[in-house]
Each structure stands twice: as structure tokens, then as C-alpha cells.
Symmetry: C3
Subunit: 145 residues, 3 copies
Amino acid sequence: MRRGVKMLKGRQDMFYNFEVKTNRQTELIDITRQVQAVIDKAGTKEGVCYVFVPHTTAAITINENADPSVSRDILTTLNQVIPFQGPYQHMEGNSPAHIKASLLGCSLTVLIDAGKLVLGTWQGIFLCEFDGPRDREVYVKVLKC
Amino acid sequence: MRRGVKMLKGRQDMFYNFEVKTNRQTELIDITRQVQAVIDKAGTKEGVCYVFVPHTTAAITINENADPSVSRDILTTLNQVIPFQGPYQHMEGNSPAHIKASLLGCSLTVLIDAGKLVLGTWQGIFLCEFDGPRDREVYVKVLKC
Amino acid sequence: MRRGVKMLKGRQDMFYNFEVKTNRQTELIDITRQVQAVIDKAGTKEGVCYVFVPHTTAAITINENADPSVSRDILTTLNQVIPFQGPYQHMEGNSPAHIKASLLGCSLTVLIDAGKLVLGTWQGIFLCEFDGPRDREVYVKVLKC
């Protein structure tokens, strides 16, 4: 078991979780390695893995993890389209984060083949922080099929 | 079986559906209770549940269901980013609804643990109406795994 | 096996893929027929199918496939909201395509009933090209359940 990956409630047959500490208000953090570590631990060779973020101001997405400027451009543009200031009613002041979370989504399914996540050459899995910095959790369930 | 949940085609081993009546042109309706009722009926303790909206001007999302102003801010902002009036070609006049439907998506996977939907503290599942009021359907398939 | 559908690595029990040739910079291409062909080939009567696009400047969505002006309105509006020109840092110049890809997503789950994709009357599955023309791939895994 790699660092940062632990079992939820200690039950190997249920699902796994790991924590991600974010550092900025909005940030994309590559979690591909952590998700792969869950698959390694589960020992699943063929199947699918469900990745879920149990937060309402964070999301999960797949995009390029080679050039970090792609992540920056995604965040900059989202922050322009959904501005931090506006006529929002939600008293906590983080409505833009909630909106971005729904636009990108909190649930993802990735195929597994030969024990590895099936991702394109440039694809990585990112936790999207929209209201940080915070401690976030990611749930991963692996299904052999 | 709780109110509002019925089997599709009467086959318990296939999938379930329930109806949602919407009241406004754009609206987020919390359907967490109905999805949980499907899991209760299926009797699944550990697994995943697939939630699917068979419409092209409605969507499904997970976001905060504690403060209703979050839903309102999501709708208000989406309606600003994708305005009702514009140079749309689709003759039915509901192109903005189609666009919002693709942005939020019609398919979602949620984990099940100990017979309950695995959701974060603030998370609820919402049907997103973008071209109402209408009668909408939600499909739910439960997989024990 | 219909035209355009082939097995990945020749293993019937793993997953399938097919290629889609796009013709324009931004384009929605209906791939419902190809996904159904995979289900036909797998012979699955009840279950789910996972559709995945292994690209970072393409996406997958479900929307209306009756009137082609819906697809055009989706693209036109996305291209307005996420403009081709902007203060993007990514040197390849295709940041808008990456952003649109994350907004629509690369992963989708569709139910299968009686050997057919469970889709609403107006729903079709579309590959979304945001940085074409290119040759794209779609992965499909079918799970009997």
C-alpha cells in the first residue's frame, strides 16, 4: 500500500479512500498515482474503477497532466466564466465553487486493463479544488469485471 | 416500496424508475430520498448505483442540499452564462436547455455502503430541470459488488 | 461485427474500441450506432456500458440527435463561452479545447436493457471534437449485470 492510500473502515472488499491536501483557493491536483495505487492494492487486473469526491466545492476531471499550463488555463478560464464576485445569495460566499463543482462533476469511471488504469497518452486524473485550501477526500471503488 | 418509486416494466432484476414533476422553467429538485428508496427496495448493502436521466433538456448533478440558495445561485449563474435569448438555430427555442444539459450531464454513479448512498455531509442528488415545467423520469440501476 | 467496431487487443472479454474520424475543428459526431454495435457483439442483454474517450481535447456527451441544429447550437455557444483566442499559457494553442473537454467529460455510463442502450426518445451519444480534425478513439466496456 502506497503512502496516502488507506482503506475506508478497514474493509478491503468495500471501497478505498485517500486524502488530498490542497494549497490554493483553486487548484488542479494530479491524483492518477493515488488512484493507480488503489488498483494495485486491490489487485484487480481487469475491471473498472469508480472515483468519487464527497465534496460540493471540489470536483474530479481528466485532462492533460504533461504541461502544467493546461491546468492553469482551465482554472483561469473557469474563474472568468464563473466570477468570484457576483450577485450570489448563498451566505458562505463560495457559490462560484459550488457552480464549478457541478460543471465538472464529482463522479468518474475509468477502465482497468492488465492491472493499469486505461488512460490516453496525455490523460491524468485531477482533483479540482474550487474553495481551498482544504483537506479533501477521494473515494475509489474497484470492480473486477 | 416508498412513494414515487416503481419498477420499470415490473422486472425487479433490471432497473427502476421514478417520476419527478417539475414546477418551473429551470429548477433543481433534490431526488436523494427517491434514489435511496430504490436502494432500499433492491436491498443492496454494498455496490454502486447508476442514475440516468433520459432527457435532453434536463440533467443530474450532485451539490449542496442544505442551503437552497446554492441551487438558486447555480441556476442563476447558468442562465447568465448560457442566456435564454441568443442566435440559436434550433427551432424549438430551447437550445439553452440542451446546452446546460450537456454541461451538467445525464449520467451519474454513486457508491453504496451499508445499504446507504455514500455521499458527503453536504451532498444531495438533484434532477436539473432546464426546460420545464415538465414530467421527468429518472432511471436507477443498482449493482451489488 | 459492424463496420468501425473492433476489439482492442483481440480480447473479447476485456473492452472494445472503435475509431472516429472527425472533419472539423469543433464537431459533434453521433456514435450511438457504434456503441450499440459493441453491445450487439458482446451479446449482453441486461447490464451497463461504459463509454470512455482517451483524449484531452475531445469529450463525450448525450444530447438530441434528431435536429442537427441542436449540436450546432451547443458548439456555437461553447465556442462563445470559451473563446478560441484568449490569454492562454499552454503553448500548443488548444487550451479552449482542453477546457471544453473537462466541461463535458470523457466518461459516460449507459444502461442496457433487452440488448439495447437505454436512451430517451431524443437522446443520442456524441463524440465531441474540440481540436480537430483528427482521428479519435472510443473505448467501450460492457458489463452484464
